[in-house]
């Protein structure tokens, strides 16, 4: 197929050509970035929490009337005892926070007591000897807490643990070249000895500003004696739903002087995850919707304009056919024409896509767009163009040579 006559003909349709090319360019720029945003969000969604989510329930409990720390200690002991006896419960512990809960305590972890010279931030989870088995954490080194190591902490007490268990990500940050076991780290003015390392335990926060240390967590051996406490409950296999029905009633049977919200006081971890990532999922859905409709609109626009061109040139097509051009020639003429327009469109669009990405990076802390997205988008739009032009081009190829002789 010769390109020169196609180019010559395009010169007579400058406006239409420019419009299709512009539409393809803009579509490419938007689609690339939208797909990239979708990918970023889905990547966040699929980041593992490190815990055995499918068998976990969480309870948000608040004791009424501001009991003293001593009272809370006995209330908590009674609750833990009761929860352990609920049929179907495998294990339970009390804490301040859990992964994806979107609230908790963050401490800087460093090599010296100087609080301002920390290496990295880490989420701080209050834990006891049941925490590892309840969450289903994989221990890679060292040991678990012992019951006699679990201290108590009232509301404004100082967190100064003698022993800590940390995540592998945090261990690597602190001691890149050696095992962390037995070494001191500082989350307070006093040293804490690392006694265990777990494979993975995500922080409570999903916000992108805290993504850098999203796997850095410290388990500290404390029961926090404040009126608000979270219980994390592990159900026995296939007992999750049954257990979740029993928990609230079981705790209210111990004392009614408490608040466990009937609405979301007891949540399965699936619900916790759903709530934590609602915004990310929403953004992915919105961008996906925009992308699909955008491709449809652009495809339909190409069909429309190409049909018009075919209709306009029936006579010329007839002449060409009468002069010996085959149906194939006509078909490939329109396909080539579209390919040329689309190629110029994606060339501009590629630059636009990168420009838009650079601007979005500056405005919204986005990452750099991978070249793969641009290339993928280019291929997709070229295919879309060819697909869209196919029907009008086939219609053109069926124009009979007789048309050349018709005057209207």
């Amino acid at each position: 197929m010769q390109i020169r006559p196609v180019l010559a003909a395009l010169r007579h349709h400058k406006a239409g050509t420019l419009l299709i090319a512009a539409q393809i360019a803009l579509t490419l720029a938007i689609i690339c970035n939208a797909l990239f945003i979708i990918h970023e969000r889905l990547a966040r969604l699929s980041q593992p929490s490190g815990i055995d989510e499918s068998s976990l329930l969480v309870i948000g409990n608040e004791w009424v009337g501001k009991p003293t720390p001593a009272q809370i200690a006995s209330l908590m002991a009674a609750d833990l005892d009761t929860l352990r006896k609920v049929p179907g419960v495998a294990n339970v512990y009390a804490t301040n926070s859990y992964p994806l809960s979107n609230g908790g305590m963050v401490l800087g972890v460093g090599h010296s007591p100087d609080k301002l010279k920390y290496v990295i931030n880490a989420a701080t989870y209050f834990a006891d000897e049941n925490t590892l088995s309840t969450l289903g954490l994989k221990s890679v080194e060292g040991r678990n807490f012992r019951p006699n190591e679990i201290g108590v902490l009232d509301g404004k007490g100082a967190v100064q643990p003698a022993e800590v268990i940390i995540t592998r990500a945090l261990a690597t940050q602190m001691f890149p070249h050696a095992s962390a076991i037995g070494k001191p780290i500082y989350v307070s003015a006093r040293p804490s000895i690392v006694i265990g390392v777990v494979d993975r335990l995500r922080t409570p926060f999903v916000d992108s500003s805290m993504a850098k240390w999203s796997d850095c967590s410290v388990l500290v051996p404390y029961r926090q004696l404040t009126p608000i406490t979270q219980y994390v409950v592990r159900a026995q296999p296939r007992q999750l739903d049954a257990v979740s029905q029993r928990l609230r009633a079981a705790l209210y049977a111990v004392t009614r002087m408490r608040v466990i919200s009937p609405k979301d006081g007891v949540r399965s971890f699936a619900q916790v995850r759903e709530a934590a990532y609602r915004d990310d999922r929403g953004m992915a859905i919105l961008m996906g919707g925009i992308s699909v409709v955008l491709l449809l609109v652009t495809g339909a626009g190409i069909v429309g304009l190409s049909s018009f061109w075919v209709g306009q040139r029936r006579k010329q097509i007839g002449v060409r056919r009468a002069l010996g051009a085959t149906r194939r020639d006509i078909l490939s003429y329109f396909l080539t024409e579209n390919l040329l327009i689309a190629a110029s469109g994606v060339a501009v669009g590629g630059v636009l896509a990168i420009g838009l990405n650079l601007w979005l990076m500056k405005q919204f802390e986005m990452d750099r767009l991978g070249m793969g997205y641009v290339l993928g988008g280019v291929v997709a739009l070229l295919l879309l163009g060819q697909g869209a032009v196919l029907a009008p081009a086939l219609r053109a190829s069926r124009v009979s040579p007789v048309e050349a002789t018709r005057s209207v």
């Binding site: 539409q23 803009l26 301002l116 404004k156 404040t226 925009i290 626009g301 429309g304 061109w309 979005l360």
Partner: protein, 438 residues
Amino acid sequence: MLAYYLRLGLHSLRRNPLLTALMVLAIGVGVATSMTTYAVFRAVSANPLPDKSSRLFVPQIDPWGPQARLDGSDVPDALTYTDAMALMRDRKGARQTAIYPISHTLIPDDVSREPFHVSGYAAYADFFPMFEAPFVYGSGWDRGQDDAHAAVVVISSQLNRQLFGGASSLGRTLRLDDHDYQVVGVMADWNPRPRFYDVNNDDAFNDPPDFILPFTHAVDTHTDTDGNNNCRGTSGRDPGWDGWLRSGCAWVSFWVELPDSAAVAAYRSYLQGYAAEQTRAGRFHWPSNTALFNLTQWLRHEQVVPPATRMSLLLSLGFFLVCLVNTVGLLLAKFMRRAGEIGVRRALGASRREIWLQFLVEAAMVGVAGGVAGLLFTGVGMSSIGLAFDPDIARLAHMSAGLIGLTLLCALVATVAAAFYPTWRAAHVQPAWQLKSN
């Protein structure tokens, strides 16, 4: 003549139903996506107190020094208890209040009812007149009761309905955890969005607070903050409640009302002077670093509009732009296809202006139809908005008369603008050429 053009336009649009539908749908979808995301954007970026926002200010005092900002972080967006109390004592503004979010369990008088969780704020008396909080019964407390650490409370109309059936509860007692409070006021439904006075705790779009009680009393009862407690830049603190109050931890919000620019300038220099005094006294080891934001500046500083919301709006507008380029192309095709008809009309005496008007009317019809389609799609978008946005934010966006008007107007204006070039081309068709070929 206009009626004739309308008839012509309708006829032409009917001749190519598929092409017409395509244009109408593209404009409809484009305008609807933009309107839906715009409605969300407008809801979150609204000025919550338009008549007063230029007179309300947030002071900022750097309690940690430049050393704590080496990692690129900002000066904390709350004050330490020490600084907040100093500003409260000096009362250099027309009105001022320190604020922090608190929560309690509420024990109903009726013992058959279970206790429940309530959340609210600890604030000073100036809170109510300063933020123009409306009351159904009673009013806020006065400065004397601040100083007396009075156990009084102002409750929301919702809580008043729940506890007292909506009747006046003035003088009644409320049991919050281990203390009794006397109700002195019931607020009317009041929930400015974004909740500017608490945006530093990410609570910009929540349900209204259930209660507000005196700051001085909340501190007396050791009521912990329900919001952020930021100790990042401190060198640690003593244990216990008093250790926390004395610490460099930032957790108190502070608002001050300054009636005019002279007062603003005076307050700025007062803040500078206060911080310099702290440096002289040896509490701060760095040159004073203070700032004063007005309400709108503060909302921007705190990035109250979620980046995702702005990004969705921008990409939706880009999408609308593509839809318009698409419309330009299709209109061009549609109009130029009728070059012959234009030639005949021109030959029969129609002026270029009339041709131009005729096609503009046709395009406007597409625009109106696109607007109606856009309205339908916006309705769909609004009802499924919860899929894409935080529910707290999603329920703020709703179909208003203004939005309906804007949708129609956008579709019409955009389509007519898009039709400008195609109609110009149509008006410049050479009649002689068209007639010759026939």
